[in-house]
């Protein structure tokens, strides 16, 4: 029983990280139909900022804020320098561009920080925990789950109750018609990238708290998982991205618990295989949304 509860907490905690990454990917995709594969590099930017600021003796809370800010700034720079001129390009061009941006950023990280892993000096409370009977719960997991819950709730209220949220939702449905409502295209796109950057920064804090090393390619794996979570849930829908994130995490933790040690190295392959079977059944994802054919802005 304790083991099952432990696995449940692990899955919710991991799902929280995947959900945040998936949300960041989904926000940009829903508006621009851009699968931003450089989203992982935004997390890496946050990772290196965390490494550098903690190494410089900055308080962990300020370091965390700096990491999120760095990720937001990087997202805005990506939008301005790489994607803005290509908004009217076809989705394939955007996809290839995002790959190119991802590779270019990884090369930059390599140039500035080298290939060796940089250990992040995490504060002591990250390893602290408490016991409920035989069950040991890490405060970090509690923190990740609670903060993610608050973020998802805040994002829901922001999108539902504010004028900017209303604009973002309408833009996600039909960008061209949204502009006919007098809404500035740049404001919506910049808003989406800001949110995406902030989510990448927060997801990076949680990710690097569990894997406290940063290398140039650190962002690739969480980005891939986040993207798959989006696809499983249904690309273009934010609630679906969150559900997809948790589902992927439960698949991963559940498979890990069931599989024998000899099959553990193939965990990702098995989980992705299950995801493919799921998509065979529902090609648009579990909550696939209908998208307008007008993909251009």
């Amino acid at each position: 029983m304790e083991l099952m509860l432990q696995q449940f907490i692990n899955a919710v905690s991991l799902g929280s990280i995947y959900a945040l990454v998936a949300l960041g990917v989904a926000i940009v995709f829903s508006i621009l139909r851009l699968a931003n594969f450089a989203h992982g590099e935004l997390m890496t930017v946050a990772g290196y900022t965390l490494y550098a600021t903690l190494l410089a003796g900055v308080h962990w809370f300020l370091a965390a804020l700096a990491a999120i800010a760095a990720s937001v700034i990087a997202a805005l720079l990506l939008e301005r320098l790489a994607y803005r001129r290509l908004r009217s390009a076809n989705p394939l061009t955007l996809l290839i561009t995002s790959f190119a941006v991802s590779v270019a950023l990884q090369s930059l990280f390599l140039l500035f920080f080298g290939a060796r892993p940089k250990g992040i000096e995490l504060p002591a409370f990250v390893d602290a925990g408490f016991r409920i009977g035989q069950l040991r719960v890490q405060w970090l997991d509690v923190f990740i789950i609670v903060i993610t819950g608050l973020i998802v709730l805040s994002l829901h209220l922001f999108l539902k109750k504010t004028v900017i949220g209303l604009a973002l939702r309408s833009a996600a449905d039909d960008f061209r018609t949204t502009r006919l409502m007098g809404i500035k295209a740049n404001a919506v796109v910049v808003g989406a990238f800001m949110l995406s950057g902030a989510l990448a920064g927060i997801a990076a804090l949680f990710y690097f708290a569990t894997v406290p090393n940063v290398v140039p390619s650190s962002g690739f794996e969480p980005m891939l998982k986040g993207f798959i979570a989006c696809v499983i849930g249904g690309l273009g829908s934010l609630p679906a991205a969150v559900v997809g994130g948790f589902l992927l995490a439960f698949l991963e933790v559940g498979s890990d618990a069931i599989l024998s040690n000899s099959l553990s190295p193939y965990l990702d392959a098995i989980v992705f295989g299950i995801a493919i079977i799921l998509l065979r059944w529902r090609p648009g994802g579990l909550f696939g949304v209908r998208m307008t054919e007008d993909l251009r802005v």
Partner: protein, 234 residues
């Protein structure tokens, strides 16, 4: 404010969709735009509302003159429109659909403006339903409600009665007349239902192959031999 399009040309690669079209609509006037399929009616609405940039020509409204305009700027000047194929937002409710426009193009309370626009279109209920779950005729009306929420100087209606039954078409005619009476804006309406055009329009402009071939009062245009040949048939 009077709206004027002068000598508008729109070319798509080898195809000339509009070939020197001029159109003037006075404040409070309803102008019908008719013509065979492919004659350039929707293209004229598209260049006017900023969907396309015309190859040449100019537009004016009051003291403002322009040759190209963005979707957003057209809306901010009060040039509002509906679409031949309904384009509502999938994830918004009826009220939110109208609120988007009233928030960015209106002054004062966005909720109140949106509710007023819905009242004008006889949406006494269904405000919390998803827009795309409404019956087809109601979706048509909702598009018009969205187009009149906030600033409105000039309204472009692209086939507002397409796919509607007789009763629903009659209701659209009443709504369009009420909008003109209350808002005093100029209105251009494209429709293949000649009864709608004859009942609601002060003037009719006929396009054929990207050119204006006739313009005048509905009954006069209906008898024009050139219009009969190009569009109405014998």
């Amino acid at each position: 404010m009077n709206f004027k399009a002068s000598d508008v040309v729109m070319k798509f690669k080898g195809l000339t969709a509009l070939d020197g079209v001029s159109l003037e609509v006075a404040k409070g006037e309803i102008v019908g735009l008719i013509g065979p399929n492919g004659s350039g009616k929707t293209t004229l609405l598209n260049v006017t509302s900023g969907v396309y940039s015309p190859t040449s020509g100019s537009f004016s409204m009051g003291a403002e003159i322009w040759s190209k305009i963005s979707l957003r700027d057209a809306a901010r000047r009060g040039i509002r429109r509906t679409f031949q194929n309904i384009r509502l937002f999938n994830s918004l409710t009826v009220l939110e659909t109208v609120e988007v426009a009233s928030a960015w193009l209106g002054t004062g309370d966005r909720r109140e403006n949106a509710l007023n626009a819905l009242d004008e279109l006889h949406f006494t209920q269904h405000r919390d339903r998803m827009a795309t779950e409404l019956a087809y005729g109601m979706q048509r009306r909702l598009e018009i409600a969205r187009a009149i929420a906030g600033k409105l100087e000039f309204l472009l209606l692209d086939e507002p009665t397409a796919g509607l039954n007789h009763g629903e078409s009659e209701e659209i005619v009443t709504i369009v007349q009420a909008i003109r009476r209350r808002r005093g804006c100029g209105i251009v309406i494209i429709d293949h239902d000649l009864n709608v055009i004859m009942n609601v329009c002060d003037r009719v402009v006929v396009l054929s192959e990207g050119k204006v071939i006739a313009s005048g009062p509905p009954q006069e245009v209906r008898r024009d031999p050139q219009v009969i040949k190009a569009y109405l048939g014998s």
